[in-house]
């Protein structure tokens, strides 16, 4: 039997407000991180160093939000001693914002590479391999945040499932870059840059997957970390 997750039915209205407030701040943070990733990728693919600088210099905002939300969660734990779904909500928020902060760091990296790219006068055409991977990762992050907001386990599971193709794409890019480097050693520096960016994107996808796992924990109370997708499904059908 599933229980409903309704944040607004506490006898204490202030508790309702506190949970709503912290949850809406996570949504804000998610929106900001999504924007950072999107801008970082755009700066990279279009060699816009200004935009890259903006992304790199905006990371502090993400960090500040993490600290702020963390503190609010600490206060909720201290004041309310939440149980059951409330406890799972607070715990999954604390974990989600850690992953969001890490995604912010990777977006910052993308911004830095965009600046480097412009400085070194490298043609953005060399980064086109990243376009497809980047779009895929952006989509995954979006879906993960959506699943979190809606507390939607089905969507979370779909997103987790989609992450396997992401890893394949990353591997394909790695192989392609190795070939390039073998063919023309003068390309090694550029190829490494591309590879680091691909690595950042792959990490973002991984963090998005983590967020989806927290959604499953939040809604179902099941910990599905470190298990295969088939085991997850079997676990949830129990």
């Amino acid at each position: 039997m599933d229980t409903d997750l309704n944040l607004t039915q506490h006898i204490s209205n202030r508790f309702n407000d506190e949970l709503e407030e912290v949850r809406s701040q996570v949504m804000n943070m998610g929106g900001l991180v999504e924007k950072q990733v999107s801008d970082g990728l755009k700066a990279l693919l279009k060699a816009k160093s200004k935009l890259g600088e903006k992304v790199a210099s905006s990371d502090y905002k993400v960090n500040a939000m993490e600290v702020d939300i963390d503190e609010q969660c600490t206060l909720i734990l201290a004041r309310r001693q939440p149980a059951a779904s409330d406890l799972r909500l607070v715990i999954s928020i604390i974990k989600t914002i850690t992953d969001l902060e890490r995604i912010g760091d990777e977006a910052e990296q993308l911004g830095m590479y965009a600046i480097k790219l412009a400085d070194d006068n490298i043609k953005p055409s060399q980064f086109v391999e990243l376009r497809h991977l980047g779009e895929h990762v952006k989509g995954m992050l979006h879906d993960a945040l959506d699943a979190f907001v809606r507390m939607d386990v089905v969507a979370a599971m779909e997103t987790i499932e989609a992450s396997s193709t992401l890893k394949e794409e990353y591997d394909a890019i790695s192989r392609q870059l190795i070939l390039q480097m073998m063919e023309d050693p003068r390309q090694i520096k550029n190829a490494l840059h591309v590879h680091w960016c691909a690595r950042s994107l792959e990490r973002i996808g991984d963090h998005a997957e983590n967020i989806c796992e927290y959604v499953v924990y939040l809604v179902k109370g099941r910990d599905v970390r470190h298990v295969s997708i088939d085991e997850m499904k079997a676990e949830l059908e129990e």
């Binding site: 039997m1 039915q9 508790f15 701040q25 949504m27 900001l32 001693q81 149980a83 907001v149 809606r150």
Partner: protein
Amino acid sequence: MSEVTGMTEAFDATPVVDRDPLESGARVVEQPDIHQEITGTVGNPFTDNLKMSTRNVDVFYGDKQAIFDVSLDIGANEVISLIGPSGCGKSTYLRCLNRMNDTIPSCRTTGEFLLDKEDIYAKSMDPVLLRARVGMVFQKPNPFPKSIYDNVAYAPRLHGLAANRAELDEIVVSSLQKAGLYEEVKDRLDASGTGLSGGQQQRLCIARTIAVSPEVILMDEPASALDPIATAIIEELIDELRANYTIVIVTHSMQQAARVSQRTAYFHLGKLVEVGDTNQIFTNPQHQLTENYITGRFG
């Protein structure tokens, strides 16, 4: 949503996509009339490690039914907590376990109650002897207006458990020790029990219960009249007593139930809604009513 956008703007970044959980097809579940939904007990009310078992228990006060078809096992050397809102029947159920309800004329109890496979409502069962085997500690400490020594010695004397004064002394001392009170009162065993602090009085009552070597101890909100320090001492004591006794505790404090018990049973409107491992009940309850109660929601 306006507030969300506003806050994001403060950071000079608009969200990539507006999210409205309701507009974007969130799964909104119609809330059924939940009180009609208690059809049986969720979770496993049974245990292999059996001390007491109760089956299909109904309790009536006159025409009014207070307990509806409750079946629940109590395992040996476990602490099981009974939780639920006021009037849910948890105390009534607790009092059935040593036939305390017998003293209420309008109260009628049906169903099966076994203590070590023995029917406690059988004609051959002496309620006084039963209450020596299944002892009780109440919400408000209620020491007799006698000395500390006599409070503890009262029941052993009544049941003739000591052949001489030396044996009685030994029972009194060891009971006070087990209740964690001896060190505080050893120099004034002749002083009145009512002169102790609230927490000490409650431990005296526990010592009084232990003095007749019960098998099961029933506790009805044993710490609700105590300060946090006395409460912590009682909780610590409950954990120690578990080695030798089976403990059933009624409590209104969620945190206390979560801390002291291995299993938790949730009662609502006279029905046993859910029972399970305490760890599971407090992190992932399966019934909406349990969830509502332990998270402080309307329900």
